[in-house]
Symmetry: C2
Subunit: 241 residues, 2 copies
């Protein structure tokens, strides 16, 4: 019934090389092989999941939102869970790309950290990303692999990125950090202090203001530089006891 789904008449068919092995089929794409239709389904699913969460969303809702018949969905995906997993995959990639795109600058150490922190906090406390995290956390009991992959592609890569940066700063003599991995953990949590968990639990209904974020990040960087700043920190002085 004249949906917009047949946007691409017939081009774009061999866009995706048929997975990773040779696709022998000479004509057509084979059932469930049209990447445009796949994207269309995923986009509808994304909207529905974001609006209603995983359990409350029904396949019929997705059908309606995507403008695709239920039978077709089940040709492309083997059920709601697989659809959700595929969606997470896409989502993570784009989320991380957003962050990467936002930090390509050659700032000096302190400013670079602040800039990175502001981007990070702004992104992962934004409404859509918080909603996505709530959904993933909510199903983490039933689908731990999904949750774990989400963490690995998201927060873990963010921390790895931060560790790289810290390593560079240490090498350049701008920082003096005995354990950059630990430091990356600490700093990224400091960035989020007082914002992230409130947001997750819906105890902070609105997105945090840019001022709040900036104030938080600067406080974190200050604390961080006092501890790990150039000179002034002798490592051997570990805990008493």
């Amino acid at each position: 019934m004249t949906r917009e789904n047949k946007a691409e008449p017939g081009l774009s068919d061999k866009a995706e090389e048929c997975g990773e092995v040779a696709c022998l089929r000479p004509q057509r794409l084979g059932a469930g092989q049209d990447p445009a239709k796949r994207k269309q389904i995923l986009e509808g699913a994304r909207r529905v999941f974001m609006r209603m969460g995983f359990d409350a969303a029904s396949v019929n809702d997705i059908t309606r939102e995507a403008g695709v018949s239920k039978g077709t969905i089940y040709v492309y995906f083997n059920g709601k869970e697989e659809l959700f997993e595929a969606l997470c995959e896409d989502y993570r990639a784009s989320m991380f790309a957003d962050l990467m795109a936002d930090i390509e600058h050659g700032l000096s150490g302190r400013d670079a950290l602040v800039k990175f922190g502001v981007s990070l906090v702004t992104l992962i406390t934004s409404e859509p990303v918080i909603r996505a995290q709530r959904i993933v956390i909510g199903v983490a009991d039933r689908m731990p692999e999904v949750g774990a992959r989400f963490y690995e592609r998201g927060p873990k890569r963010g921390k790895a990125l931060l560790k790289e940066f810290l390593d560079e700063q240490v090498a350049a003599g701008h920082l003096d950090i005995p354990d950059t991995e630990l430091a990356a953990h600490q700093l990224s949590e400091l960035f989020l202090a007082g914002i992230y968990r409130q947001r997750l639990f819906a105890a902070m209904p609105e997105e945090p203001s840019a001022e709040l974020i900036r104030k938080n990040v600067i406080a974190a960087v200050d604390l961080f530089f006092i501890a790990y700043g150039p000179r002034r920190y002798q490592n051997g002085k570990s805990e008493d006891k």
Copy 2:
């Protein structure tokens, strides 16, 4: 959902205006007034919700687990949501009590902080508490009040407790902190760095070992003392720009 209006057929109508003030009913308890039965229902509901999450749990499951008929449940609670909210109320209280019970000591500053941190991290990254948090976060979109109250009674009170402690330490001259509220935020997030989010996302399937927790907490306290420790920190040197 949304049909609570015709709940009472005609009997038991004066059961609930007893509320928290004097219940005038001289004999019997009135429908839905037996605290033991209420407790029994809540206990069954707790087990079911913990095992299956909010959406996946059905009232029939709770019926079965609690050993109570469905009709009775609907006498005590107006549906699954209300049952869940009541459950959260109980749960928060007991969780916080656990933490309080674990920190009544007169240790010196640094050791006291470590002890507090270990108790805190151990508690809120434990399997049952993590599961509870996942469930609450998962429904935070649909029931933001529940999530917000959970946060206020949990993390927020924990941070308030920590702030109190820091205030005492500052007064005693053991610490030099310009903003103890911010510092409490920072320290409590530092305690959890590298553990909490992994656990939430199921990226760390097992409860963290006591060694890991202790190592993390000590690192946090070290960092904290370097920044806020006695002397050696001149406050006026705030951030540039």
